[in-house]
Amino acid sequence: MLESKPSRVLLFLGALGYLFLYIPIAILILYSFNESRVNVGWVGFTLKWYKVLFTDKQLMIAALNSLIIAVISSVVSVILGTLAGVALNRYKVPFLSILVMIPIAAPELLVGVSLLLFFLMINFTLGLVSIILAHTAFCISFVAIAVKTRMHGMDNSIIDAARDLGANRFQAFYLVLIPSILPGIIAGGLMAFTLSIDDFVITFFTAGVGSSTLPLTIYSMLKIGVTPEINAISTMMIIITIILTAIATKISPQLFR
């Protein structure tokens, strides 16, 4: 059979689609290296906007917050998400599978607002802890799906074999199952980290007044106007996302199918 090749029309339309996706990002990155204060016309190459970022104390605190939140919520969600993923793959747990679908199927605004209401009604102080609790919740879902996808093609009999050969339940879990699904777990963890560091809506509602993260800082900068500093910080966040996503897909390609 002939290998089907995309026709010229398809190639053209598809290429236009990719241009639509990438030209705005390219322009944004380009202007982060522009000498001019306004994002208009090319004046000259500079790195000064990046230097400005690293001297901005507020921004550095926000970046540190984002990092702390992302690390803790991805670690916790990897543990709980792996349990959930294995449970979903090996047993029928309809209640759990509904819970896991919520952050994927429900509008983010709804999740954010209901979490805000929840924290306020139980008199929980909004801040880093409430953000971490909320991020962990939606990250669990993504890790669970990553792990479940990884286990999909796996031969479950290796666990039975380990048990037959004298491993106890926990040994079979830690020494056989976990190593064989490790790529899925790592990919899920990277996804969780990326989601957490880039999340705006849920953070916005659960942050309260005192604590800020990178996306929250970008949001308040955007309300004032367009500046090259935002381009620089955006460029750095895009680069982090590209690296993490690329690693995640490399480790566990079936994740994105």
Partner: protein, 302 residues
């Protein structure tokens, strides 16, 4: 004995995540439903559940907020606008996303992973950044703005502002959610059997006919999944109208945000959120039923 062990293992695995997710997703939703029946407090929040007046206990639960919302023209106007913007964005996403998904599906295997990765990367980056990119592009001093206004003035119209319009809102909604459309469409198109197209072509169908009568109907599940995935997040968007829209492009999400953070009327905010959710569910179900009926009809005819 083995059965018992299996149940123990199942519980050991599933109970920790179930507890966590129940507290962080289910309980908040239930609280929201309860709050929607309560009275707004005098200084924001909710009024005490039970008040004692003249030694009589009075339960502060009622349908007042629902009544207020149902007869409030403003809420329905915003909801209608949100649906219009979201449906329009979904349709545009479908038109842009379909060729992309098809291009990936028809590309040689070695390029597919890269092409897919290129769709996924913007999808994982912060959406504020992607809105910001369009704020630069549509800004009053941008090249596009300059060209459009140059042409408009030449044709005798007065110049317009591209940013801070409803059009800018729709463009950003499309841009942010496009990957949601491409991924499920690709997953569907990839499974198509090329021999069907070949057969139809051998039997005399034109390229367009075989696309319209075979590829499109077969990809309906992908179209449906993609549309739902684009439509649902669009509805609740409040940042986009805030950053690139004007007073006439506010959506239901802006109202909900305002009710919770500015006017602090939690019951009304909860009611509005519930109405929005029911609306989303309604449309999604309607489309699902419609498509399954259409599919059924098609098979019945053949």
């Amino acid at each position: 004995m083995k059965k018992l062990n299996q149940i123990a293992e199942k519980n050991l695995l599933s109970i920790p995540p179930i507890i966590y997710l129940t507290f962080l997703f289910l309980v908040p939703t239930i609280i929201m439903v309860i709050v929607s029946f309560r009275e707004p407090g005098a200084y924001g929040g909710v009024a005490p559940l039970i008040t004692h007046i003249n030694n009589k206990s009075h339960l502060n639960m009622n349908l007042e907020s629902f009544k207020f919302a149902v007869f409030n023209k403003f809420i329905w106007e915003l909801l209608f606008r949100s649906f219009c913007f979201s449906i329009l964005s979904t349709i545009i996403c479908l038109f842009i996303g379909y060729p992309i998904a098809m291009l990936i599906a028809k590309s040689p295997k070695k390029y597919r992973d890269l092409l897919l990765l290129l769709i996924i990367i913007p999808f994982w980056s912060c959406f504020l950044i992607r809105v910001y990119a369009w704020m630069i592009i549509l800004g009053p001093q941008s090249a596009i703005s300059y060209i459009v206004n140059y042409v408009l003035v030449l044709l005798g119209f007065s110049p317009v502002n591209l940013l801070y319009t409803s059009a800018a809102v729709v463009i950003c909604l499309v841009y942010i959610n496009l990957p949601f459309m491409v991924l499920p469409l690709y997953a569907n198109l990839e499974k198509h059997d090329d021999t069907l197209i070949e057969a139809s072509r051998d039997l005399g169908a034109s390229k367009f006919e075989s696309f319209w009568k075979i590829t499109i109907p077969l990809s309906l599940p992908g179209i449906l999944a993609g549309s739902a995935l684009v439509f649902i997040p669009c509805i609740g968007m409040f940042v986009v109208p805030e950053l690139v829209g004007n007073n006439c492009s506010f959506m239901i999400g802006n109202l909900i945000k305002q009710q919770f953070l500015q006017t602090m009327n939690w019951p009304l905010g909860s009611v509005t959120s519930i109405i929005m959710t029911l609306g989303v569910l309604g449309v999604t179900l309607m489309v699902a039923v419609l498509v399954s009926r259409l599919g059924g009809l098609k098979y019945a005819r053949e």
